[in-house]
Amino acid sequence: MSADTPGDVPADGAAAAALSVRGVTKTYGALVANDAVDLDVRPGEILALLGENGAGKSTLVKVLSGLVNPDAGAVVVDGRTLPPGDPEAARAAGVGVVHQHFMLVPDMTATENVALSQGSRAGRRFDAAGTRARLLELSERHSMPVRPDVPVELLPVGERQRIEILKCLLGDARVLLLDEPSAVLSPVEWDRLAVVLEELASQGLAIVLITHKLGEIAAVADRCTVMRGGKVVATVRVGDTAPEELARMMVGRDVVLRTERPVVAAGPVVLEATGLTMAGYRGDRDLGPVDLTVRAGEVLGVAGGGGHGPSGPPHPPAGVRTPTTGSVRVTARGGGPGRTGVIAEDRQADGLALPLSVSDNLMMRVVGDEEFSRRGVLRQGRIRRHCTERVESFGVRTAGLETPVESLSGGNQQKIVLARELYGDPDLLIAAQPTRGLDVGAIEFVHAQINAHKTAGGATVLFSAELDEIFALSDRIAVMSGGRIVAVLTADEATRDRVGELMTAVNGAREQVRP
């Protein structure tokens, strides 16, 4: 395919480009994060910057926003070359960045955060009323509702993201860079954002959408620049390029985008949860009452959650949180109490002890077993053999067993969680957002592991904000809305539209009822 050479689809001359990157190179020690990167975005265009974790996207964003001083190359905005490594100059030239991890002061309101970003010349007065008015005006014009007077930490993630975007717009941004904007959004929120982005582009803004999700690119982007290993692999027109081709360019090999769902005869009931209720937690909605039944050899996908970002019901079978009422019974396939493995929704918060070693993280559940400790003393040799086996069979890339987990990539961290939680064939696997933040290669691996668990006769409950993931893996799909399960569909019955309708229908009804 002709798209293999870089810069196949040039912008219409560099002069027309709102933002041009020319030969940007940045190295960290032996690692070349950006290798002679070229990139153009025209006004009114949405350019997707696609690449796996570690492809150099984030480094490029930092160069563009002036946070990082490149070794070579230049960033040109509207024909003027930016002084390297000067965030203030980049901002003044109209480069607005919405970072993946928001740059908002949590206990300040939206108005205050926006005012804070409006330069900091000494002696200048803080015009709260003016800032607030302009914020509201922009918010209305672009239909991005925000509450200007509530501390940002109390706002849902989607709203915080809108504040970030409005912050850029208020700073007269002509180029808007969004770093993985969908990572924190539910599918519905993402759809809304996509509409806003298209509208902004139609008004002449140049938008760079940094992502590793192919679906998003197809939905909104005009052109797509693919990066791999710090280099630009190709720039292609999105309409002319199949997703498989984009994936191949991104990963550098053929990728199975759709795993074949194995069909396994359902066995005895493994998970039986009845009448679960729980008060809202961390901004989630109140839960329940919820009933769930999952059989051996079956994957139950749970779609939908609260309006505060994706959130399924909690994971009481795992003992992570205790439900207020209701009962949970996990039965082993052969009878008796069953074992549960949990892929925690937030692996860094609930699944891993980041400062500890790979080996320590693999031992969490089993350290007290006869096999690995005797009279309270660890059996070093057995532990080392066990961990080596786990690391090898799950393909964890680590320098050694003593490496702290925090220095591994997200995909490798998730592999450690899987290697630990799938050890000893648990009867029930609870997988919450198992592929969040992972790149294509790692997602493929996680999906394969979930299918393998199922084929081996295990039961699985899958919570995911990615409907595609739910559809790809689930035998039955439970749709949640307003903290309750509103329908359970078989894989054959479920369509994207149907599930989407069910997820929003009750929410809409409730919102109307609310005064």
Binding site: Y28, K62, G252, V342, R365, G368, S407, G437
Partner: protein
């Protein structure tokens, strides 16, 4: 990992070299003769067996307090009340040493030391209970209990436990059978230093090689993950606080049972509980590294004493030099910590992770 450990060691060595240099600089500022001051400091630490013995005597409570801090903080608990637990342990040890008489040395001493551990653990247990059951911040609880304990010891030494004449504001010496035997003749060093070394080694072993130590480290590293995978984190937290306090209590028992006066006097803890935290910081919470770190601080304390006596530097300035050293040491530790574990959200690392993903091609 190894390179990191090596760098950590290099930073510690740097702190050790810089610390005396910085204190000399502080002394030189008002114009004291720096050569003489350096000589005095050296003599204060190594000048004679008596001086060196005195340094090691100060080392004992310092290293114990540091180990106490390490045990609690590895579990994620902040036991800043080591000072109070030293007082509590010293008090219970003194009670046993004074009033439980007629026992052979081995037995009496053992019981007195254990009483010290129990006394410390009881005070730490109060804080642990408040933390586990009432949600009181462990930092606050342990600190405030120290203030109470200071007054309790003062009252005991001037009241119920005061020596028979009732004029000195301190208790009589404990029975000879409850005192640690002298290790080096004509020095203040007693055999408790051997017990101390054993405790350090034991702490290192337990943390690294046992299930209890594993659960403790896990809880400290991420309590949520620990709880989700079957570790009872509240039990671990309470246990760590109590163990930490018990070790501080043993330090307190040494300050009574191995001291020349061997009695209970107000303020006998002399800030060892707080300096122990500095030692642990310098040692980066590694039990074994507490030994050299405690030696350094003990030497500064001891050398500073002779500085005052021989060069005529005011005691305030000597304290100031120690403060400079402490700042320097914590500064190095903080700097190293910051460099090592700057929060690095996935995909945004500006220091390349040693293992990158997606390079399979």
């Amino acid at each position: 990992m190894n390179r990191q450990a090596l760098r950590g060691a290099a930073e510690s060595v740097l702190a050790v070299v810089l610390a005396p240099a910085a204190s000399l600089l502080v002394i030189a500022l008002p114009g004291a003769p720096i050569g003489k001051a350096a000589a005095a400091m050296w003599d204060g630490v190594f000048g004679s067996p008596a001086q060196f013995g005195a340094t090691l005597t100060k080392f004992v409570p310092l290293v114990l307090a540091a180990i106490g801090w390490v045990v609690a903080s590895r579990a994620g608990r902040l036991n800043v009340g080591l000072e109070g637990q030293i007082l509590a342990g010293g008090t219970t040890a003194a009670v046993v040493g004074l009033y439980l008489t007629g026992l052979p040395t081995v037995l009496h001493l053992t019981i007195a030391v254990l009483a010290g551990a129990v006394g410390g653990a009881l005070l730490g247990g109060v804080a642990a209970w408040l933390w586990a059951r009432r949600g009181v911040n462990d930092f606050i609880a342990t600190l405030l209990l120290t203030l109470i304990m200071t007054q309790v010891v003062s009252w005991l030494a001037n009241g119920p436990m005061e020596e028979p004449t009732g004029t000195l504001g301190q208790s009589s010496p404990v029975a000879d059978t409850a005192r640690w035997p002298v290790l080096l003749p004509r020095t203040t060093l007693r055999t408790d230093i051997i017990m101390v070394i054993i405790i350090v080694l034991l702490a290192a072993y337990v943390l690294r090689r046992t299930v209890v130590g594993y659960r403790l480290r896990l809880t400290g590293a991420n309590a949520d993950a620990a709880r989700a995978t079957g570790t009872r984190t509240t039990v671990v937290g309470v246990g760590a606080l109590c163990a930490s306090a018990a070790i501080a209590g043993i330090a307190g028992s040494s300050l009574v049972l191995a001291a020349p006066a061997a009695n209970l006097a107000p303020g006998f803890s002399a800030g060892y509980g707080f300096d122990g935290i500095v030692v642990a910081l310098l040692a980066r919470n590694s039990p074994l590294a507490c030994i050299p770190a405690a030696l350094l601080l003990a030497a500064l304390r001891q050398g500073g004493g002779l500085l005052e006596a021989r060069v005529g530097i005011s005691s305030g300035l000597v304290t100031a030099t120690q403060a400079v050293v402490i700042l320097l040491v914590t500064g190095t530790a903080w700097y190293a910590e910051r460099r090592r574990s700057r929060p690095r959200p996935p995909g945004t690392s500006d220091v390349p992770a040693p293992v990158a993903e997606g390079v399979r091609s």
